[in-house]
Symmetry: C2
């Protein structure tokens, strides 16, 4: 599919206007747009502007409640639990991480869980909110079931990403990984290219190894069975039960600790659970010393001997931060389909998109 | 190699006597022995009684200081940091998790890090200490470097296990996993059997995929280069950078947050770092409700549709708890080499092992 770059700043103005037109406050529209476009800037297209159409539908159908008033069910000096009551995922999540950060600054740690929320964008956005404040940030979310546990034939867990951010110089450590071996997006790419999948990525409806992306996607959409494997792949040979275990941690810290809905019971309604932790690492010693140790360690990794044929060892987050620098300057790539969707959505809300992203693809 | 079962209770008496003879107090000898044999009971032979010879050497050579006095460097209501000053890993680790548990009972969370410690046995022992008290337990340790980061050719990270325990009925969720795709022990098994390794487990000294267990072990022992891959394997195809990322989390929460020694700088001296967290999940709601939700979720996983050819879906910890029940009753399997080592060590300390484990293999 053809891609073209659209200006980041102009696009941001347009998308903010769109969310404003749905009825979100100016502040909330800014937050939603910033998080949505952060995905594109970071090079995670699946969670970026191409998802606008899905948010549009969810808002139009009332799955996302623009005027939801999230309710704080529980609060202690180090924790809180929210019922989002169907709010836009980004709005409640931004507030929840803000609260975790506030608590961490007072007590050393803040751990906030949220239930009955919606898709919130990239997990790494929220963990980075904490590292931007010189704290350690942790963020997880469950999702609709797509991961098949070891020895099962049915998806019971979500992609269940775990994101952790730790301050360092010159750039922070930013880890953000689905606990599935790959995301659905990668299976879709193989399907478009009509290429067989690498073994160890997916299972068919019988729970057997499968390299047919079309079949896997059909099975997922029609809930026939099978799905994507945990990190570590099929069976026990490459320790797939470890990826299954990490997905369980995500489920425990989100759905179980918010009395929310576990991935295997999720529908397409507002029943997503998240967690947000901020930790002031000063409770473990001198922050300058710890931060400098961390920075030195990352440098040692960067400078470790390379594998034959490899020219660089990456620290988690480096690729993404370089992508941000590039795309802020050179624009965000959008494909023709997404471009058309933005035009249509803007038009349906009485907004002219041409002055922001041009009239033609 | 031939195995025979030795009685658990009698063996425990003998091993306690041995640690007593080294000069450990009765209380510390009990703790060390309980943790050491817990590995055998759980079916994790690599961390059990076969390691006695290594502890014996470390104690004899003064690497482990029997009379070490660990020092509490920092303490807040929710955290503490210890310098173990070369103490036996099990002794300081038991104390550290006890302190984390005490703090969690008062404030909701306790996070304790330890530096300058030694090998502490199985990580899952300590996380289970918390779940036995109806808390969530987390425990990690770094180890000598054996994991090669994505695109590197040199081991820079340890096996870096992450253990998390969460109470549930009828049995708790007990996750304990090295973040390498496999442990060194598995490579040793393939070497003994003279079988090629599955691709995706190890790299040679050039950082290239390698299926020769003898070569990999030689390279590890002689620090030539290469080593074991992170969970997710080689390069990016099966997302090995995720396993590399999880190993980084372990390094951050142990060595970085104790100002200790990162795996790439570890020697065979006392420079291991650990962390111990206990979380009272009551800070997130009614404990009965949360525990019952967790138990129901685990049941749903157990009862999910099975893959063709599979007869059971395991919850993390189930295999190990069943092994404990079996071996407590039927004895611990030891091989001839280990049996001889126990005899020799006991004799060198003036203890007759015959009355505990028999005179002959």
């Amino acid at each position: 599919m053809a891609y073209k770059n659209i200006d980041y700043k102009k696009t941001k103005e347009l998308i903010t206007k769109i969310f404003n037109a749905y009825g979100f406050t100016s502040e909330d529209s800014d937050i939603i747009t910033d998080i949505l476009l952060a995905a594109d800037l970071h090079g995670i297209e699946s969670h970026g502007i191409q998802r606008l159409i899905r948010y549009h539908k969810a808002i139009s159908e009332g799955v996302v409640n623009v005027h939801a008033e999230p309710e704080k069910l529980i609060e202690t000096p180090i924790s809180a639990v929210f019922d989002a009551h169907g709010a836009m995922g980004q709005v409640i999540s931004y507030a929840a991480m803000k609260l975790a950060i506030e608590k961490a600054k007072i007590t050393g740690i803040g751990m906030v869980t949220v239930r009955n929320s919606n898709h919130y964008g990239i997990a790494g956005y929220y963990s980075k909110m904490a590292s931007d404040e010189d704290l350690i940030g942790v963020c997880m979310t469950n999702t609709e079931a797509i991961m098949v546990p070891t020895f099962a034939s049915k998806a019971m867990l979500g992609t269940n990403p775990i994101a952790v951010a730790m301050p360092a110089d010159p750039t922070p450590f930013l880890f953000d990984a689905a606990t599935t071996v790959v995301t659905r997006g990668k299976v879709e790419v193989y399907n478009k290219k009509e290429q067989p999948l690498p073994m160890g990525w997916t299972l068919d409806e019988k729970g057997l190894d499968c390299d047919d992306p079309g079949k896997v996607l059909y099975n997922i959409i029609h809930r026939v069975g099978g799905g994507i494997l945990p990190l570590g792949g099929s069976g026990e040979l490459h320790s797939g039960y470890k990826g299954y275990g990490f997905a369980m941690l995500c489920e425990i810290f989100t759905a179980i600790l918010s009395c929310g809905t576990t991935s295997n019971h999720k529908t397409d309604r507002s029943d997503t659970s998240h967690c947000f932790w901020a930790i002031d690492y000063g409770i473990f010693g001198d922050k300058k010393e710890i931060r400098s140790n961390m920075s030195r360690f990352l440098d040692e990794l960067r400078n470790a001997p390379k594998a034959e044929g490899a020219d660089r060892i990456y620290i988690h987050g480096e690729k993404e931060l370089e992508s941000v620098a590039d795309k802020t300057k050179n624009g965000i790539p959008v494909n023709e389909k997404t471009f058309g969707e933005i035009q249509d959505i803007a038009a349906s809300l009485g907004i002219s998109s041409a002055e922001y992203i041009g009239a033609k693809f």
